[in-house]
Structures are given as C-alpha cells and as structure tokens.
C-alpha cells in the first residue's frame, strides 16, 4: 500500500511540474506577456521583472530560473500592483479563501449526504420530491445568481446579513451558502442515486435474508458502499469550490485569492495569473491525492488491488 501511495505522490509532483512547464511556455508566447520587453508596465515593475526573469537570457535558462523560483515559492512581482509579489497576494488571500472553502466543504458533507440518504430511503415520497426539487434548483442556478439573490433578499430587503465583507461573522453565511450551493445539490443527488443503486445490490438482500435489522442494513451495509461514488466527487467538488470562489469573493468583496485572480485576469496581470494558476493546480492535485488515500481506506478492493503491487 505504501508503495502505491509513493507512486501516486511522485506522479502528482510530476504533474505539477508539467503543468508549471506548460504554463511557462504558454505565457512565453503571449504578446505583451511577462517574458517580453514590449509591454506597458511601470518602470519599477519592469526593473523587478528583469531582475526576476533575466529577460536577456536564452529561453531555456529563463525556464530553469522560473522553475527554481517555483520550488522556492518565488513567483515574481505582480504586473499591476506595484511593489507586491505574487506570493504575497497568495499569502494574503489564501487564508480567507481556504476558510470559506473549508466551511463550504463541511456544509456540503454534513447536509448533502444525509439529505441524499433520506431522499433515497423515502423514494417517491413528498420529502424525496422536495429534496430533489431543491437539489435540481441548486445545480441549475449559477453560483453568482445565488450570491446576488442572497445579497438582494437577505442583505437588501431583509437586512439580516451584511452586503459585503467578513467583519461581521454573519458575513460568512452568504459566501459559504453561495459557494456550496452547486456541490451540495450535486452531492445530494449523487448520494441518493448511489444509495438507490446500493439498495438494489445482492449483498443488501443477503443482509436482510440473514435477519439483520433494517436500521443496521441501512446504516452499516448500505451507507458505506453508497459513499464510495460520493468520494469520487470530492475532486470535482474541490474544483467547483475553487472556481466558484472566483465570482463569490468578487460579489461579496472578500479579500480572497479568487478575487485577486479575477482582478488579475481583468488587468491582464500575467505574472499573477501564472502564479495563481500554478498554485491552484498544485493545490488541486494535492487534494486529489488526499482523496485517493481516503478512497482506499473506504474501499478494501482498491486498497488490496493496488497495494498488492
């Protein structure tokens, strides 16, 4: 088993380096990008850019320098925010984004899975219809619409929540709900259908035929199996929360990474785009790796098959 994870870990590191490489060459080919001399940035940034990227060196040397920078977490100066390094932006924004993202993840798990299970157990009953109706709405309404609705109704009309910022703890509610909406709905639907699928399985029939109490059949035999496909969704979920945070942070004016990222896109702040992209990709890949570990813990088939080698 340990060998399997070592292999996966090595693959993850390789993928991150590969993505960094691809990003480097993409950025290199952009006219007006960080690696060209003709571009409209203030002199002070230009000096630092040259310092950082040695624009007169051959491409390959530049590439090595850039990769060296990555390893030491030096992502260069921002293009548009004078005097700021990209890594400072990340350091400044990531805690906020992570806090919101983590809260959303917890919300998704503690609501989505029980709702899905209840819905499956009460299939075709009113509560099932209600849960599924909400879940369908959740995957069909974009997160920025949910966010704006929250602002309009709960901050504007009712005045219960602040319209922006996190100074007030209530300020977390809007962003977290908006951020988790889509994935919460998705997890609910996935849990429900996975649960229904599991309930049709032969081993459930076996457990019942062995006189196991229904509550144990559900709680022990069904739920554990039903969660296996749900775990596979964690990857896409992390991605959805990451990208969702781009707009949510902007709408609620939160000082997170997503907000910086969107701003950097609007301002064509190439170094920041590049830095945050690589950071996001690395973060995502590491999350997926962790999910794989969790997966193997739940499903012995994977643990043994892959561990055998």
């Amino acid at each position: 088993m340990g060998k399997y994870f070592l292999k996966r870990f090595a693959a993850a590191i390789l993928t991150i380096l590969l993505i960094a490489t691809i990003t480097f060459f993409m950025m290199h080919s952009i006219p007006g990008g960080p690696f060209t001399r003709e571009r409209p940035v203030p002199d002070s940034i230009m000096v630092r850019l040259n310092e950082k990227y040695h624009l007169d060196d051959p491409v390959f040397i530049q590439y090595l320098d850039y990769m060296k920078g990555l390893v030491t977490l030096d992502l260069g100066p921002s293009f548009s925010i004078i005097g700021k390094d990209v890594i400072d932006l990340i350091k400044g924004g990531f805690p906020t984004s992570a806090k919101i993202g983590l809260m959303a993840t917890v919300l998704i798990i503690i609501l989505g899975i029980p709702f899905g299970i209840i819905s499956a157990l009460k299939q075709n009953k009113p509560i099932d219809y209600f849960v599924m109706f909400m879940a369908t709405l959740g995957v069909t309404v974009p997160s920025f619409v949910i966010a704006t609705l929250i602002i309009y109704v709960f901050a504007g009309l009712l005045g219960w929540l602040p319209t922006y910022g996190l100074q007030n703890p209530l300020g977390y509610i809007g962003p977290v709900v908006a951020l988790s909406g889509y994935s919460l709905s998705f997890v609910t639907r996935l849990t429900r259908s996975s649960m229904l699928e599991v309930l049709r399985q032969d081993y459930i029939r076996t457990a019942r035929a062995n006189g196991i109490k229904e509550i144990v059949v559900m709680g022990k035999h069904a739920v554990r199996n039903a969660l296996i496909p749900v775990i596979t969704y964690v990857g896409p979920m992390v991605a959805a929360i990451l990208t969702g945070s781009f707009v949510i942070e902007r709408i609620f004016a939160l000082p997170g990474m997503g907000g910086y990222f969107v701003e950097s896109i609007t301002n064509r702040d190439y170094t920041t785009i590049m830095g945050i992209t690589v950071f996001y990709a690395a973060f995502y890949i590491i999350m997926i790796l962790l999910v794989d570990v969790a997966y193997a813990l739940v499903d012995p088939r994977i643990r043994f098959e892959k561990g055998a080698k």
């Binding site: 399985q201 032969d202 081993y203 029939r205 076996t206 457990a207 019942r208 035929a209 062995n210 006189g211 196991i212 109490k213 229904e214 144990v216 035999h221 554990r224 199996n225 296996i228 739940v298 499903d299 012995p300 088939r301 043994f304």
Partner: protein, 338 residues
C-alpha cells in the same frame, strides 16, 4: 417426521408503474423435515419470488397478495417485520445465486459472519469468531483462522459460495433455501458445492429447498420436485416421478431441452419453441398453452387444476382430464386435486 413448511395458494405480484407483474399465481406445496425440495423452471417463472415470499422478504413494489406460508406452525405472512427478522437467518436461512455480488465488499468475512451469529445467538464476540471459524472449516475453507480476516474479493466464486453457506448454516436453521446456488459457478465447483450441501444436510438435518433451472442439479440431490412455469406450478412429485413418469408437456419439454444422462439414453436436444409469457398480461388459460404441442381449446381458456396421479404426484394439465383425447405418454384420468 413432521411438516416443516406448508405453502397455500401463494400469490405475489409486483406493482410497477407499467402495471401489475403477477410473478407467483397460486402456489401450494408442503415439505417434511429433512426433505430436499427442488424447484425448477425457466428464467422468470417465479422461482426466486416464491423463495423470497416464503421468508416474506418481497421488496417494494412487490406484495404477497394472497395465501399463507406456515412454517413451524406460524404463518409467516402474518408476522411483524421484527418477528420476521428473528426468523430470517436463524430458523430459515438463504443463499443466493451470485456469490460474487452477494457478499458486502467493504467488510471482512469475520465481520459479516459474526454479525449474523451475534444477531441470532447469545454467544460472546469471541465465541462468535470461534464459531465462524468452525463453520468455515466445515464448509472446506482452508486456513479459516487467517482467511476469516480476508475481504470477499480475495476469495474465488466457489469459496465465496462456501462462505455464504457457512454463514447461512451458522445459526442452525431448520430450513435452508438455496436460490440457484451453483448457477454462477463452473461445473466442477458446482458438484463440490452440491456435495457440500448434501453432507451438511446429513450432519444438521436441515430441510433444504433448492431452486434451479438445471434438471441435472435436481436429479442428484432432491427428494421432491416442483416444476414451475409462468408463475404457476405445473407438476409436482418425487424425483423418480418427475424424471421417469413426467406428466406435463412442459416437464417433457424441459427434459428434451437438456442433455439426458439420467434416463440412460441420449436424445436429440429439442428446444421449447417460443418464449415465456409476459407476467404483466398472463394468458388466461394454462400459461404454457401458447407453446404447448398439445394445446386444446380449454387450455387457452382456463388454467388446469392439479390432477392427482399418486399420493405424491400431481400435474396441472388438461390432457389428464377424462374427456381429453389420448396422447401417448400422458396418463389420463388422474384425480382432480383441490
């Protein structure tokens, strides 16, 4: 030897959104202690539904519409769910067709087996584990002390079926229902599993119902046989009666469509023409009539009653009626049994 099981006029249907599927349409039979009853029939003839109806484990949208299942003097169709769970797995145990999917993949064999033992006995956890190991040993699993910690996917199909049998027998059931226990296994393993069932039966004096569509399986191990078709019982008798004096065209069809070793000579295989009836709209008459080579007008209109040919042998075929034309091989004039 007393009666252990008596099924009377059992009717089970599935109420799907497309309509009512009448999976079992009035089965009656009884079993004595120590009997091995075989239920044969084509796929979809209602064998599994009959079995599940016996332990009253018909899942939504299914329902036992009519009839009674008297086991040990109790009508199982009238018991509450919690009374039933006490009986399932302890007094009546069941094993299923596909051992590959019938064991929960995320738990160890130990976990699965002790769960059942602890549920139905007063054993401590330690005793339960020891008992499980003993049962595994009994069904021929090598090194049961270590293998008990394995997960189902680490066993082969035959081994998994042995685990299923060990689990099923771990609480000393009076009745074991084996729904196609060997269908998913290859031939040599099939023989081993059947042998094992017979051996265990001798040791524990459990009554067994074996469900199969393989006449060969039945011939080897059963004492009595029920032939089912289209949710109805066609013919019922001892092994010898069903094999040497079959008295229903469907039973005959079954014999002709499998290689015959039991009867000594090898006939040409004759498949039964047509396909089984749609249980959503079952034929009004005999379900087999559309495919029957001897179908008569009455067969299309009315299902035949059970004609009694001997104390143990009954057959639901109008050819046995005294007014019916004589057809070679069919004993006419049996008593109508109702």
């Amino acid at each position: 030897m007393g009666k252990i099981l008596e099924v009377n006029n059992l009717k089970t249907s599935f109420f799907t959104h497309l309509g009512e599927v009448q999976a079992v349409r009035g089965s009656s039979f009884s079993m004595n202690e120590g009997d091995i009853l075989g239920i044969v029939g084509e796929s979809g003839s209602g064998k599994s539904v009959t079995a599940m109806s016996i332990i009253n484990l018909i899942e939504d949208p299914g329902k036992i519409k009519e009839g009674s299942v008297i086991f040990n003097g109790k009508d199982l169709t009238k018991l509450t769910e919690s009374e039933l769970t006490e009986i399932r797995g302890s007094e009546i145990a069941m094993i299923f067709q596909d051992p590959m999917t019938s064991l929960n993949p995320v738990f160890t064999i130990k976990n699965l087996m002790t769960e059942v033992i602890l549920r139905h006995t007063d054993m401590s956890k330690k005793e339960a584990i020891a008992h499980a190991i003993k049962m595994l040993d009994l069904v021929g699993i090598p090194h049961p002390e270590t293998r008990i910690n394995a997960y189902p996917h680490q066993f082969s199909g035959g081994m998994r079926q042995r685990v299923m049998i060990a689990t099923a027998l771990s609480c000393d059931p009076k009745l074991l229902i084996a729904d196609e226990p060997t269908t998913a296994l290859d031939v040599t393993i099939q023989a081993q599993i059947l042998e094992l069932l017979l051996k265990l039966k001798d040791e524990t004096n459990t009554s067994i119902i074996i469900i199969t569509h393989d006449l060969g399986v039945i011939a080897e191990v059963c004492t009595d046989i029920i032939v089912m078709y289209g949710g109805m019982m066609m013919e019922k008798g001892t092994v010898d009666e069903i094999f040497y004096e079959p008295n229903h065209p469907y039973t005959n069809g079954l014999h002709n469509s499998v290689p015959h070793i039991v009867s000594g000579k090898r006939d040409r295989l004759i498949p039964i023409k047509g396909s089984p009836p749609d249980l959503m709209k079952p034929p009004t008459g005999c379900p087999f009539s559309p495919r029957c080579p001897h179908a008569m007008q009455i067969c299309l209109e009315e299902a035949a009653p059970m004609f009694k040919l001997s104390d143990t042998h009954t057959s639901a075929c109008w050819l046995l009626h005294e007014d019916a034309p004589q057809v070679k091989g069919y004993t006419k004039g049996g008593k109508q049994d109702d």
